[in-house]
Amino acid sequence: MLSRRTILATSAAAAAAVVTAAGTSQASTPSLDIKIDPYNQTAEQKALHTARFEKLDQESLMSFAEGFKSWNGKDLAGRGQRRITNAFLRSKGLTIGRTEIGYEECFNLMLDEPSFAAKIRFNRSAQALMWDRALRAFHGEPDRYLALMEETDNTGPGSLELNPGMHLPDYTVHEIHAQPGGYVGDPFAGWIYHWALTQAFYQARNQYDEVFTAIAQDCPKPDDGQVRRILDLGCGSGLSTMAYKERFPNAEVWGIDAGGPMVRYGHYEAVQRNLDVHFAQRLAEDTRFPDGYFDIVSDYLLFHEVTVPAAQKIMPEIHRVLRPGGVFYHDDSPTIGNPNVPMSLTVYAKARAWEDHRHNIEPWILGYRHADFPALMRGSGFEVDLTIRQNVHRKRAIFGIKPA
C-alpha cells in the first residue's frame, strides 16, 4: 500500500538536504538570510510544507470544510448580506453605524434575522465538522500517530523539552476556537491544529504553509543585521518557528508553547523537515532564558488568547530576553490601540465578535481587542514602530524595538 506521507517524505528529505547544505557552506556568516517566496514555492519546498491526510476521503472532507467556511465567510461579509442586515436593523429602529449596545445584546438582536441565524449555525457546524473529521483521522489510528511522535521525541535534529508536571494557568486550558480538548487536552492537538485548522482557516491560502513562511520572511532584522537567536512565543504546531529556521539557517531558533502536544508535534515535524529547531513546553510569562539572549522575539496569534493580566506579565518578559536593539514582532488581530486598523463597532460587527468570543470559545479576545497594545509595549520599555511593511498581514503587525 502506498502511503501518501511516504511519497511526500522522500522529496521533503531531498529539499531539507538543500536547506542544510546552504546553511553549512556559510557557517561563518551568523546572519545567513535565505529568501523563500511563500507564494511561488518550488516543488521541493511545497513537498516540505505540505500536510496531507493519509486517506483521500479525509483530505476531501477537509477540502469541503475549507470550501464551506470560505463560502460562508465571504457571504457573511458580502454585499447581499449587508443589504439584508441594514434593512433588518432599520426595521428595528437601530443604527447601521457604530453602536453603544453591548456585544451579547447585538448578537441576540441579530439572531432574529433568519439568514444571520442560519449563517451562525453553519459557521459553528462547519467548525465542528472540521475538528471532528480531523480528530477521527488521528484517533482512528492512535497507536500509529503516537508511535510516530515517540520515534522523534528523543532524536534530533533540534530538541524537545516536555514538562508534563508544570502548572498551566486556567486561562490556557480552554477549548479555544472550539477545538476539542484545546491545546493541552488532546494527544494529537498539534497535528489537528496544523492539518485541519491551518488548512481550512486560511481558506486555500495556506496549503503549503504560505502564511507562516511569509510571516518569517517579512520579519524585520535588528538595525545591525545580526540574527543569532530567535524566540517564537506561543509557537503552537511550530509552523512559524520552522519558517524562521528556513530563513535564518545559522540562527538558534526556539519555539515555546504551553501545550505539550503542540510542541511535541512541532518537534516531530521539524525532524521530518530536517530542521534543527528547539521546542519547549514553557510559559510565555516565564521563558527561563537569560537576559538579552534573543535578537528577535515573535508572537503570532498569542496575545488574543491570553488574559490582560497575563499579557502584562508577558510583555516585560519579552523585553527582558531581548538584547538591546532587538526586535519584537507582534502579529495578531486588531486592538483599539493600533491606529492602522480601525475597529468596526457596528451591531453586525459586535454580533460576529460575540459569536467568536462566546460561541467559538475565545475567552480573552474581547479584553485583547479593547486593550491598547502599543501602550502595553511602551509601558515595558519598547519603542513602538507602527510602520506598515510588506507583511502578510500588513496593517496588523506591530514592531517593538528594545532601545540600545
Partner: protein, 119 residues
C-alpha cells in the same frame, strides 16, 4: 497524561470543556441538528465526487485502477484550481438558499415590473 488505553505518555493535561455543542440558533434544536447533518452530507458528497474525479482520470488514461494509486493521488496544480472551483459551485448551488432575504408574504400579488432576465 497517559493514554488510558495503552498507557503510553501523551503529555496532555486536564482542560476546561466548552459548552459550544449545546448551542441552538434556529427555531428549535431539531432544526439546528438537521442543518448540521445536512452539512455533513455535503461533505460526504464532495468526498465521493473527488474520488470519482480521481477514478475518471485513471480510467481516461486506460489504466487498470489500483486502489492504492487512487488513495495516494495528489491533484496537479491545475486540477486543484478546477476542483476547488467545482467544489465552490457545488456549495453555492446547494446552500445559497440560506442567504435569501425573507419576508412574510401578504397583501396583493406584486405588480411592479423588472427588466427581462439575461440569457
Amino acid at each position: 497524561m497517559a493514554d488510558r488505553k495503552s498507557n503510553r505518555p501523551t503529555y496532555t493535561a486536564d482542560y476546561i470543556k466548552g459548552d459550544f455543542e449545546k448551542a441552538v440558533y434556529l427555531d428549535n434544536a431539531h432544526t439546528d441538528n438537521l442543518m448540521t447533518a445536512f452539512l455533513g452530507l455535503g461533505a460526504e458528497h464532495w468526498a465521493l465526487r473527488r474520488r470519482v474525479m480521481v477514478l475518471e482520470k485513471f480510467m481516461a488514461e486506460g489504466n487498470v485502477i489500483d486502489p492504492a494509486l487512487v488513495e495516494a493521488y495528489e491533484p496537479t496544480p491545475e486540477e486543484k484550481v478546477t476542483w476547488e472551483a467545482e467544489r465552490d459551485d457545488f456549495i453555492e448551488r446547494t446552500f445559497s438558499v440560506l442567504t435569501r432575504a425573507t419576508n412574510t408574504v401578504s397583501g396583493p400579488v406584486p405588480t411592479g415590473k423588472v427588466p427581462a432576465r439575461e440569457p
